[in-house]
């Protein structure tokens, strides 16, 4: 059997190769020594600028209450963006942004000391805490100067969002007085439901790149002009261009997406013609796609990025456009103050505000609303199914321990030789010793196409799948990427060279149980979930996971040594 180098070995090799200088500087939160907890005032501290403030939240994934969420320790960039932000992790990230080891920022933004820092700094997020920050900024600036924008992936990711078809999040985001949003996972509620909400919501639902497939007519408003602080601000929405590829198209069969650069340029030009002082793109393209788009579409001042869940403590500048990356799961609120003079942005000041739930007093009205929304499910969500001795997390290009658990569950509960779990980036983190509640299980699985299928696939088919998904992540041109992380595999190991072209990246497929190479012609029993095809048969994945955790009682995962990575 080909020996498989573990993820840990890979990390050590990478760290050694890049000769990282130990971080000793202070983080962008500044003046806060390592291991010293932040206060609400520290988090809000901001030297105001100009007359316009943009607040950005994104990829909340329906997380109403504080949670742990571990950032990735592997997030590879390819082509021009190799080792560029946001493709930095752990020590490399802290060195780049001068973040002290062990600091609050280190906990919020990096992964390598997650368990101990989580115990020091506590959970992050919670919409009642977000509401406190938003209210404080509105009070400081005056509400007439502040625009609150939501990048989408808001209505999916929890049991209550699934049960209410997103209504819980719509109510909360309405109470937060969100001005506009765009979307991705929202579409998995189905076309009719999305339209119903978009037509009624008090906020604008913006997406310039969604068209009716028959007549190519816009399905949603493309943009909206706001007036804040005496300036006219055009906000253009961009839904995930790959929604119809990444998610089940049969749920919105008459809608087409795509990047639609030419139409984007027209939206920008029309905004300027209508007198916009500031043009903001509220985008769900993902960071690398937005970075490329900024070089090709002229006249955008600010791109508020999302989808790829990156959290960056500084803006990234591309020509005359700045990009902000505001993280996910309610962990951060971005604030951008803009000075506007003679119909142009003359200066921008930025802060990625970390939502440390222990430091921020919950907004009483939002706390009450969240409790009311969760009340019908509270007992069910709190049900303890088992416990974990291992840190359970999602993010990482190739593995996450939560997916290792889901893959194990499919192997045992569905009596499969190999299991496949999609590379979703959403879902909370559990610390060693934590209870695995129904809430924890559904935070990692709640979505509208959960069937866990079981079927035969040949070795050749398995390789094709891995190659296809790998090209969606490691295609050197971000416009050809589909998003997500690598499909997670149970029962099978493989090697991947991310620098190779499509079709040549994957090798050494190994059936872990026997240690034998995967035979291209042989059929294997494969279980998986989240198929995008209509009519997929099988029990919902949360029931499969529940049965497995219930039977195991305590989860102890071995180091996943099944993926060997090269070409980084």
């Amino acid at each position: 059997m080909e020996s498989m180098i573990s993820r840990r070995d890979f990390l050590q090799a990478t760290a050694a190769a890049s000769a990282i200088v130990a971080a000793s500087g202070l983080g962008p939160l500044g003046r806060v020594a390592a291991q010293q907890k932040l206060t609400q005032a520290d988090i809000l501290k901001f030297d105001p600028l100009g007359t316009v403030t943009l607040l950005h939240v994104t990829d909340i994934h329906a997380q109403l209450v504080p949670l742990y969420f571990r950032e990735p320790s592997i997030n590879l960039g390819v082509g021009d963006v190799k080792a560029q932000p946001p493709h930095l992790t752990d020590q490399a990230f802290r060195s780049y942004y001068r973040i002290a080891n062990g600091s609050a920022d280190a906990h919020a933004l990096t992964a390598d000391d997650f368990t101990s820092l989580a115990r020091t700094y506590g959970r992050m997020g919670g919409l009642d805490r977000v509401a406190t920050l938003v209210a404080a900024v509105r009070a400081e600036r005056g509400a007439d100067k502040v625009l609150l924008l939501d990048g989408g992936d808001t209505w999916q990711g929890s049991w209550s969002a699934l049960q209410t078809k997103g209504q819980d999040m719509v109510d909360v985001m309405s109470a937060l007085k969100t001005d506009a949003m765009t979307a991705h996972w929202e579409f998995t509620l189905g076309a009719e439901r999305v339209k119903e909400i978009a037509d009624k919501a008090p906020f604008a639902f913006l997406a310039q790149n969604v068209r009716d497939s028959e007549w190519q007519e816009p399905v949603f408003e493309a943009r909206k002009m706001f007036e804040r602080g005496g300036a006219k601000i055009a906000v253009i929405g961009q839904a995930l261009p790959r929604t119809a590829v990444a998610n089940p198209r049969w749920m919105f069969p008459k809608w087409e997406f795509g990047i639609r650069e030419d139409e984007m340029q027209k939206q920008v030009d029309q905004s300027r013609a209508e007198g916009a002082d500031v043009v903001v793109l509220l985008s769900h393209n993902g960071f690398d796609v937005d970075r490329k788009l900024a070089t090709r579409v002229k006249g955008i001042d600010v791109i508020l990025t999302s989808h790829t869940h990156d959290a960056l403590p500084e803006l990234v500048k591309v020509g005359n456009t700045v990009l902000a990356a505001s993280g996910s799961h309610g962990k951060f609120v971005s604030r951008l103050d803009l000075a506007v003079k003679d119909k142009r942005v003359t200066d921008i000041r930025f802060k990625l505000m970390p939502v440390f739930s222990d430091a921020i007093a919950p907004d009483p009205a939002m706390k009450a609303l969240v409790e009311k929304i969760r009340a019908p499910y509270a007992a069910e969500l709190a049900t303890v199914i088992g416990r974990t001795d291992s840190l359970l997390f999602r993010r990482g290009n190739f593995n996450g321990t939560f997916d290792d658990l889901i893959c194990d569950a499919m192997l045992t509960q569905r009596d499969a030789e190999i299991s496949l779990s999609p590379g979703f980036r959403w879902g909370g983190t559990l610390l060693p010793g934590d209870a695995i509640t129904w809430e924890a299980i559904t935070n990692a699985t709640a979505m509208t196409y959960p069937a866990c299928y079981r079927q035969q696939m040949t070795g050749e088919q398995l390789k094709l799948i891995l190659e296809d998904v790998a090209d969606n992540i490691f295609h050197p041109d971000p416009y050809f990427q589909g998003g997500g992380d690598m499909v997670r595999v149970g029962g099978m190991g493989y090697a991947i060279d991310v620098s190779k072209p499509a079709g040549d990246r994957i090798s050494n497929l190994t059936h872990l149980k026997t240690g034998q190479p995967i035979d291209a012609k042989k059929s294997y029993v494969v279980a998986g979930w989240a198929s995008i095809n209509e009519g997929t048969q099988g029990p919902p994945i949360w029931d499969v996971l529940r049965s497995h955790v219930s039977a195991q009682k305590t989860i102890q995962l071995k180091e996943n040594a099944a993926v060997r990575v090269s070409g980084t």
Binding site: D153, H184, W185, L240, R242, A244, V245, A246, N247, R249, E256, F257, G258, I259, D262, L420, P422, G423, F424, R425, W426, Y453, Q455, M457, T458, E460, Q461, L464, I465, D468, V469, D471, N472, H475, D477, Y479, F480, G482, G483, G484, V487, A502, V526, G528, A530, S531, I532, N533, G535, T536, Q537
Partner: protein, 154 residues
Amino acid sequence: MHVVSSEYSRRDALRLAGFASLAVIVAAGRADATPDEVASAIAKLYGEKKFGSGKIKLDVPEIAENGLVVPINVEVESPMTDADYVKAVHVFAEGNPLPNVVSYKFTPACGKAFAATRMRLAQTQDIICIAEMSNGSLYMTKSQVKVTIGGCGG
């Protein structure tokens, strides 16, 4: 405008659950064209003539949302007068069994050389577009369209 459309039908692969869709395509073992075959077919049509670049705007998606109906828009820059117009536009899909997907013929009366259609693509491949001008000059451009099994995004 005269349209010649190929009758190629993609295997009905998307019916199977999960990741099985690509698998069926492979198992079916089609006789797809190869890029070399398409290149030699083009060489046979135009011999040693040189192709210019520019003039053609070929608008195809980077990633097909539905391989059964991939939208394609072609526009060729031309005054479209009796003295100077686009005579024909040919679209080739390098990986399709019948690679000459569609040909459009134009006259100055068309006003502009623009055409839009949808084509079936079973796999990732280059789309090649050739424009024949009234003075005999030729232009060529190509764009890749990726056909993926999808899923796993998010």
